[in-house]
């Protein structure tokens, strides 16, 4: 309800806190969003020529004269084709598990959803493990196709293949929800009017999915454009890896690398802004809403044509194998010794936990015939100092950033809702959504360049120097996760009945008490979910880690990447690949546990929690009774006997 004209304004401690919070917010927004990005933008036009004169268009001329457009074109090519392949696979997996009656759909769904717990650098290295020139599957395929190119899994094809299966997570979540929201009566009505099953799918079901598909398409396009881990690890010249390369380069090596990196990030930002504007415009037009008051649950459609039915089943299981093989292989090989992993052949006598725990020495014979011992050359994830260091650093930085993003967003959203329809609340919201318009790489690159000097704004500190980089990583992590956190937490706040706040005030609760005891407990499951999902994403995050990679900022993703290169070099890190497999399994476990806690345990309301507690209590009582410790027997003991025992 609109505030009445006669409402009183209150001044006091709360107001002071408000001013302090506002000043801090503006300080952080300017310092960690506006200034670094502006610096990047201006750096493009402040490049100096050989004579030391500023030449505003030098970089742009260089861009068109050199090979830089090829990076943009490569990224565009990847994005366009990715939209096609991801949509084909994404729509397929959703239709196969939710719309068509395919045998074993539950198992299939689990397989298709593995990308939720297995993504980023872990997934790319997993695919490499299977498909690269010495990969298990490459070797296996060569047995059937001897003339096949052993190095088939490299460059564009490998990136497209990997990302196609890595990027269907959003389809598995959002398109699935959309298809489950379809009113089955509409399908029945179409069938009743004589439409054949395929026509029903095309004319009734698909149109209702179009808005979701459009959003997914735009997001996939942006993902393709901003791809980082797959092109870097599999070798494909797209924009992001080039930005990171240029950011680490100097003028001694090539012409104005920083300004070129800035130009590339700005190009990426422009693409992102245009695409998100289109998406926003489309979303504002609204979605198809079911007008049905008694929505019927979708009934799975049996494919009537037997040939089509068999083909659909084959297709479903081929996809399942593609999704599951890397996961299964990684788990199996994480339990194999280094020799088996290196030869990529299963050794049934070589089962070990050394890739997870403990360490072993490695003895080898030199060319001079001497036997040497390399201590701890074989070590597990939790025994290897470098790996455990990466895990520790990523864990701490991700947890702090995820928590910080939640705190900022919860306070801001509470403010936004308190001052609904006011310009200042809209401004706060716009500031928090600002990073959404900018590609992650632009933010990171801008931080790296802007803060890699003594900056007056942060009290003359160099935030990229030594351990300061960790603070910079936290800030980058936080900023990048703000828009997602805002959207989720805002949705949770919308669910709070305004009358609850009135009720609490009526019962005498102050604003702070109302927030802490009434509103926060309601939104807490969503806030924890945001925290968990952000933590999950940041824990193995690659793009930012690669940009900030330094001796003090080697995160878990960078450690995993390094395991690809250092295996067995000079008799060291003999089981780097095994540790990589174990790392991936560890990530899957952490991600799976977090998703379970968020969507399994965290989604329960108080009623469900109390019901479970009651059920457990009854079970426990039954158990006590069955083993003769029940309360009934205790009561049967005469009081005087009890007294005597005392």
């Amino acid at each position: 309800m609109q505030a009445p004209t006669g409402a009183k304004q209150k001044y006091g401690l709360g107001k002071l806190w408000g001013i302090f919070g506002g000043v801090l917010f503006v300080y952080l927004f300017l310092g960690f969003m506006v200034m670094p990005c502006l610096d990047t933008l201006t750096s493009i036009f402040s490049a100096k020529d050989a004579a030391g004169n500023t030449d505003p268009f030098a970089v742009i001329r260089f861009f068109f004269a050199g090979n830089m457009p090829s990076f943009v074109l490569n990224s565009l090519k990847l994005a366009v084709l990715l939209v096609v392949t991801v949509n084909i696979v994404g729509i397929s997996i959703v239709l196969l598990t939710e719309y068509f009656d395919i045998k074993g759909a539950k198992i299939l769904r689990l397989g298709y959803m593995t990308t939720l717990i297995y993504s980023g650098v872990a997934l790319v290295t997993g695919y490499q493990f299977l498909y690269d020139k010495d990969g298990i599957l490459t070797n296996w395929l060569l047995q059937f196709f001897p003339n096949m190119d052993r190095q088939w899994f490299s460059g564009f094809i490998s990136v497209l293949f990997t990302m196609t299966f890595a990027c269907t997570s959003n389809h598995a979540l959002f398109l699935r929800n959309a298809i489950r929201g379809i009113d089955y009566n509409t399908v029945e009505a179409a069938r009743n009017m004589g439409a054949k099953p395929f026509k029903v799918l095309l004319k009734v079901v698909m149109p209702t999915l179009l808005p979701t598909l459009f959003s997914l398409t735009v997001m996939t396009f942006i993902t393709g454009l901003c791809a980082m881990s797959a092109p870097t690890l599999l070798g494909y010249n797209s924009i992001n890896p080039e930005i990171v390369r240029l950011a680490g380069s100097t003028t001694a090596d090539e012409a104005f690398p920083q300004a070129r990196a800035a130009l590339l990030s700005i190009i990426l930002a422009l693409f992102t802004i245009v695409l998100l504007s289109v998406l926003n415009h489309y979303e504002r037009k609204g979605h198809y809403l079911s007008v049905s008051k008694t929505k019927a649950k979708l009934v799975k459609q049996k494919i009537q044509n037997p040939v089509a039915n068999v083909l659909a089943h084959i297709y479903a299981y081929v996809l399942f194998v593609i999704y599951m093989t890397p996961v299964v292989m990684i788990i199996i090989f994480s339990l194999q010794n280094w020799q088996a992993i290196r030869s990529k052949t299963l050794d049934f006598s070589g089962w070990t936990l050394i890739n997870y725990f403990g360490s072993q020495d490695y003895s080898y014979t030199t060319s001079r015939g001497k036997t040497k011992l390399r201590p701890n050359a074989i070590s597990g994830v939790f025994a290897n100092e470098k790996t455990i260091g990466g895990i520790r650093l990523s864990f701490i930085l991700s947890a702090i950033a995820a928590a910080l993003a939640c705190v900022i967003v919860v306070v801001a959203v509470n403010y936004i809702f308190k001052h609904k329809n006011k310009k200042r609340s809209k401004a706060v919201e716009a500031c928090l959504l600002f990073p959404w318009l900018l590609p992650t790489i632009l933010i990171c690159y801008s931080y790296r360049i802007f803060f890699n000097q003594n900056v007056w704004y942060v009290f003359g500190n160099n935030l990229y120097y030594a351990e300061n980089v960790r603070f910079l990583i936290i800030m980058a992590y936080t900023v990048v996760k703000l828009p997602f956190a805002l959207r989720m937490v805002k949705a949770a706040f919308y669910a709070i009945d305004e009358e609850l706040e009135d009720a609490a005030r009526n019962l005498g609760a102050s604003s702070l008490v109302t927030f802490l005891r009434v509103k926060l407990p309601i939104v807490l499951p969503s806030v924890l979910a945001v925290f968990a999902l952000n933590f999950n994403a940041l824990f193995t995050e690659y793009d930012m880690s690669a940009t900030f990679h330094s001796s003090h900022g080697t995160s878990y993703a960078m450690v995993i990447q390094s395991m690809c290169n250092e295996e067995g070099r000079d008799g060291m890190n003999m089981n780097a690949s095994g540790r990589r497999c174990a790392s991936t399994v560890f990530i899957m476990l952490v991600s799976g546990l977090i998703l379970y806690l968020v969507y399994g345990v965290g989604a329960r309301d108080l009623g469900e929690r109390l019901a479970i507690r009651e059920k457990r209590r009854k079970k426990f009582e039954n158990l006590r009774n069955s083993i003769g410790l029940g309360g009934a027997k205790e009561e049967a003991v005469p009081v005087d006997v009890k007294e005597a025992v005392k």
Partner: protein
């Protein structure tokens, strides 16, 4: 008990309440009735302190509380959605206000137990989450929460509007019973005329930010002071030109008659009753009574007749319709 004097509330340039004057007496069940957007909830929120009026005063027990903070007014509220805190148990919901007042733990327990007993909530139910309760039980929790702090009055903002018809009637009766038991002054907001008529000692009928009439249920129903009240409370037949002319009613006024005041055939007999010929167009069977749509004197008249099982008229049948001039309401 509660006295509103010349209350004006504005939202920006829009004046939501125009000089509202109400006096609610001690122990009374007083209802604000009116259509959506008429100002009844705004008036209630002005009393409870969520809205500050631009001018006018709110007095409670002869004390000016116009600018007293919400929590210091000692008014209990039962909200439309009940506003029960979903993350707390029933017990904690009821105890919330007492904890805020920093009462001792055993005192809180005593008060919660007492009030729970009064509103018929068991110990088992106190341990439950509010989501585990039925609509009726939730209402009782909301009432208990509002009453446990021992407020001087209790305000209810359409507390039955989210329930289905059957439960509404059932809870309506319980509500009335509880109000009588506690003897607490109650201000009740509703747009449901039947609810207002059955529950209230007195009713204030709101329209466009004004109060059209304040009176007992009988006064507002049978002696509606304005055309709006007559139209809003119950169903009504507007009388058109031919009847107005034939009955020699004042042609400069609008004339109405309630459905049950029209008499058919033998009921139309009697002294001073004006009779016209009509044809039954259709009928609706309600069990206890039957509603007829009759065309007479170039207009349609709706008539309610008690279902005696004998005098039931068929569509197309010609009937005599009687109007007693005393039953005509003119504005």
């Amino acid at each position: 008990m509660i006295k509103l004097t010349d209350i004006v509330v504005k939202f920006g340039d829009f004046e939501a309440l125009h000089n509202i004057n109400v006096h609610v007496k001690e122990g009374e069940f007083f209802t604000f009735l009116g259509p959506s957007g008429c100002g009844k909830t705004t008036t209630l929120r002005t009393i409870t302190g969520f809205i500050d009026p631009v001018s006018g005063t709110v007095q409670m027990q002869n004390r000016d509380i116009t600018h007293v903070p919400i929590e210091k007014r000692n008014i209990g509220i039962v909200f439309q959605s009940y506003a029960l805190f979903p993350t707390m148990t029933v017990h904690d919901n009821i105890a919330f206000g007492l904890k805020i007042k920093k009462l001792k733990k055993d005192e809180i327990e005593k008060k919660v137990t007492e009030i729970a007993k009064k509103v018929d909530l068991s110990d088992e139910q106190l341990k439950k989450a509010v989501s585990q309760l039925s609509g009726g039980q939730q209402q009782r929790v909301a009432i208990a929460r509002a009453l446990v702090t021992e407020p001087a009055i209790i305000c209810m903002d359409e507390p039955l509007s989210n329930l289905d018809a059957k439960l509404r009637v059932q809870l309506r009766n319980e509500l009335k019973k509880m109000q009588k038991e506690f003897g607490i002054t109650t201000i009740y907001v509703t747009h449901d005329q039947e609810e207002a008529l059955t529950l209230s000692d007195r009713i204030a009928v709101f329209n466009k930010g004004y109060i059209e009439q304040i009176g007992t249920p009988n006064e507002v129903y049978n002696h509606s002071e304005t055309e709006f009240v007559a139209n809003f409370i119950g169903d009504i037949n507007p009388l058109k030109d031919e009847i107005i002319r034939d009955m020699q009613l004042d042609e400069n006024k609008h004339h109405f008659i309630r459905l049950e005041r029209l008499r058919v055939n033998q009921n139309a007999e009697g002294e001073g009753v004006f009779k016209i010929q009509g044809v039954i167009e259709s009928r609706e069977y309600y069990g206890l009574y039957i509603k007829y749509y009759i065309t007479a004197a170039n207009q349609q008249l709706k008539v309610i007749e008690k279902n005696d099982g004998i005098n039931i008229y068929e569509p197309g049948e010609t009937v005599k319709v009687g109007i007693h001039p005393d039953d005509v309401m003119s504005y």
